[in-house]
Symmetry: C2
Subunit: 306 residues, 2 copies
């Protein structure tokens, strides 16, 4: 089934305690699309770049089955640029530069053929733009919609954010964001309050501690894979979301049981992402590598108590 | 099989964002013994208290199968007292008072019948005292020994600590301590280095994020049970250790597979502990409550990928 992905396509400069890269291709929509491309070749990408964005990168996405008709290439303009530096713990980071460039005028218009997408992944953007995309869907009821956001939007646009959240099926945020959104410290209580805001499913990402899926009183916990080396956490959350939604689009099954599997595939894709800088590892995967790693997740949590 | 538990028996005054208690019974050895008592009634306790310690609390321990011949009751002296206040996150805390009292002269002497204990749980104490206990065992090779410690001893007595660690079978510490001990940020790398220090097994506790078991290249991850309310984290780590070692003593099986089960039982006991202040919840358990909760752990992580 088809998956609409919306979000930034960007250049990133990244510095971590283990090295750095300068102006590599990044952005939420890029990570989401690459991760999802291992599960479905019906990806409808909606984003914006400047004339400076390399054609070769677009060709690679096309080759993965990503339809770029919804990608605006703006003349005489530059692609969104972010530069950041991670602290020793590889979780907190300082933003060095944010050049919005083309993103300042992003006014997403969905090609007609995108308006009937079965699955929709709204990457982190202003809630108003996320809503603008939702409003263009022909069949909002029929589409299964996931939304990512961040504390910044909770600080400056909470009302609009809550309006968009009320329209989606699954909200994907981190633990800190879940606490801010719900004003509850316990994640179990936070989930209850966020369910009341609209989303039937809630996924709380906890970085190196894994991710949790909440539906009614059901809770599923997918640990992150313990890794010898994490080089660059950039895009891990988007890669998780791309793997998760890609797996749902592949199977067309949004039951709780299947969503648990999707969470494991999302965690698997994220574990590859962080092992190299930028998209490097994510571009070099195949089914065997992915399935071998999924098995490690089974081994990690399996125990047998009669 | 018999379990020797060594550590503090104390009074605690605890303040959390959810309330507080004044001078309730606590201490590592108390939590360990109570938790283990649901799995084995052959517990040999070694500790020290003052004349002010309530006889009723000792009678309760005896009734749970705890042999108190190794508990020194010091005349004209006061029991160890700790007062602390937890921050909003329920992880970090400020120590308000530490009155060592009897602990200042703690010179543990094992009763003859304790010297052949099958399992030994060395609660957090000075490494020198932990070593003193080990040296009194008749059959160190035959006993399965676990040790808990803290960053404070790494700061002031690292050499002695490493000497004791080299003699134990399983080290039980938290993530921060594992990083300090190994000088590695990645827990996978930390485990490799700590294995080289001696312990075949390493358990890294991560509070609300669960606990991990390492043996060679094997890794097992037991999440913590997501709870609606955590009232008091005091003693959770000791309760975990007590449940873990109690289950091993009950089954007499120290295989990796059985140790995974023991980790789940330890996590289960800790989940009860934090739901009320002090020992309150831990004193009110039974097999059914414990087994019902163990099932929740199965549900929490179970998924099915062909």
């Amino acid at each position: 089934m088809s998956l609409l992905t919306v979000g930034t396509v960007a250049f990133d400069s990244i510095e971590t305690p283990f090295g750095g890269v300068d102006k590599v291709v990044g952005g939420a929509c890029t990570y989401i699309s690459w991760a999802a491309s291992y599960f479905t070749d019906k990806i409808n990408l909606v984003s914006i770049v400047g004339e400076d964005f390399p054609q070769d990168e677009l060709d690679q996405l096309k080759a993965r089955g990503v339809d770029l008709e919804g990608l605006e290439i703006k003349k005489n303009a530059k692609t969104f640029f972010w530069a950041g530096k991670y602290h020793e713990n590889m979780i907190s980071r300082d933003t060095i530069t944010t050049d919005l460039n083309v993103l300042d005028d992003f006014d997403p218009v969905l090609p007609a053929k995108f308006k009937k997408s079965d699955f929709v992944m709204l990457g982190n953007l202003t809630p108003a733009i996320q809503d603008q995309v939702l409003e263009q869907l022909v069949d909002t009821e029929g589409a299964f919609v996931a939304l990512d956001t961040m504390n910044f939007w909770m600080d400056i646009a909470m009302d609009k954010l809550k309006e968009v959240i009320s329209k989606v099926d699954v909200l994907i945020i981190n633990d800190e964001e879940a606490r801010q959104l719900s004003e509850e410290f316990s994640l179990v209580n936070a989930a209850r309050i966020i369910h009341q805001m609209g989303p039937e499913y809630l996924i709380i990402k906890k970085g190196e501690h894994g991710a949790m899926l909440f539906q009614d009183d059901n809770i599923f916990y997918a640990p992150a894979l313990p890794l010898r080396e994490v080089k660059d956490p950039t895009g891990a959350g988007d890669t998780f979301a791309g793997g998760f939604m890609g797996y749902l689009a592949k199977t067309g099954d949004v039951s709780y049981e299947n969503m648990k599997r999707a969470l494991i595939y999302g965690s698997t894709m994220a574990s590859f992402c962080v092992q190299e800088f930028g998209l490097e590892n994510l571009k070099a995967l195949n089914d065997k590598k992915i399935n071998d790693r999924v098995k490690l997740f089974s081994e990690l949590v399996s125990f047998d108590i009669e």
